[in-house]
Amino acid sequence: MDYDVIVIGGGLVGVSIAWGLSRCGQRIAILDEGDVANRAARANFGLVWSSSKGLGNAAYSRWSRTSTANWHRLAAELKAETGIDTGFVQSGGFSIRLTPTELERGIASMARLADQQGMDAEGTPPLEYEILDQAETRRRLPLIGETVAGAIFSPLDGHANPLRLFAGFHKALQQRGVHYFPHRKTTAIRHRAGGFEVAGEGWRLGAGKIVLAAGIGNTALAPMVGLSVPLSPSRGQIIVTERLKPFLSHATGYLRQTDEGSVLIGESKEATIDHQRPRGPITAVLAERALRTFPLLRDARAVRIWAAFRVVTPDGYPIYEQSERFPGAFAVACHSGVTLAANHALVLPRQISAGALSEDLSVFHSRRFHVPAAV
């Protein structure tokens, strides 16, 4: 065996797990594509957000809240190891509601979320949030637009600089001597002598365990080792403004100011893989909503508008599973690689090293998509 674990995919999910596995003393290799890879790690909004997640899946809410709590340790340890500051702040997040209807919907869905069975567990920060009416929203965010109906605020939420997070993991892995192989698109995985042989054009490597963290690539790789990762691409567009004086220290669901002064305006979702160009009609909606939210942005100039894509599972919740036919083969797929980075770095690797995913993660097995649904 060349390695203890081969991680397939060098995006944010892959490097989070690889870093954690390296800290468990495992010999790791990361196999990555080149710069042509569709990398959500380089194209995302950078929220560390849990308050509104998990309606219909209390375990996902708990997992997200735990990860946000673990983010403090992740940020501190990455900084100590690399000097790179991920810019993580948990200053609380506002879910801005532009109209009374939006506010009512938000209030109702938060109430349903909070009332679910199994929302609380030892060691998980409780779900806290406040409903803010128009006046209270304005009091806390004096620059907010006059027509904004209200907001839902949660102290659990925050944001980080996802590019520095990504760079921090890569730098740490390099310092640790983890083998990183770019331009190695995996095309075949075989189970061999209690381990796995991973191969592509002109190369092959062996490892005792493998972790599939290849984003949309997981869908094709998973069946080779008895796993199932149904995913579809979700295209998103962002508007990036020129750097401005800090005026907004809190994250909001679709608009935030980075620690470097840029304002990022999102978010859109289209079920497509074509991301050659941002689409004007979508850009217009993003801009119009941003102006209703913070009218002072009228004078801010956009320096970039880009489109990129993330992956989503059929129900939007992550997939974590180990192959029953070929133990030692794991698959990980999620939409929120930034929020979940702390759990992927600090919690999941211990389980993978030990060879068993915890009971907490069993609800994230892909058997939930199989028909008839598993009982």
């Binding site: 020129e242 401005l244 009228r298 801010a300 100039r301 320096v303």
Partner: protein, 100 residues
């Protein structure tokens, strides 16, 4: 520091940099005109106040941001000098909606 090529004979344009009348050649970018006039420091950073000047000259590095005719955050390397233009050092970050 920088010298103009001797085989180029464009007509002159005048603009001001921090109020000082300065000469440029027709079709100069603001960044090129400032460098040619000996100004290597054209802004101060928002975080530390350190001096910065034009670097990439092709719109990528955002080091050459200046205030032009009262508008902050203009990329000097992507803006052509015009007669009478008012160029000023940009100190720190700009706040939208607070233009002169």
């Amino acid at each position: 520091m920088f010298r103009r090529l001797s085989d180029r004979k464009e007509s002159s344009v005048s603009f001001t940099f921090n109020g000082v009348p300065t000469m440029a050649s027709q079709d100069d970018s603001v960044a090129a005109a400032l460098l040619a006039a000996g100004h290597c420091s054209t802004r101060r950073t928002p975080v530390s106040g350190a001096a910065r000047g034009p670097y990439c000259m092709m719109g990528v590095c955002f080091e050459c941001l200046v205030k032009i005719d009262g508008r902050p955050n203009r990329q000097a390397c992507l803006t052509t000098v015009v007669e009478g233009m008012r160029v000023e050092t940009q100190n720190g970050a700009a706040m939208p909606g607070q233009e002169e």
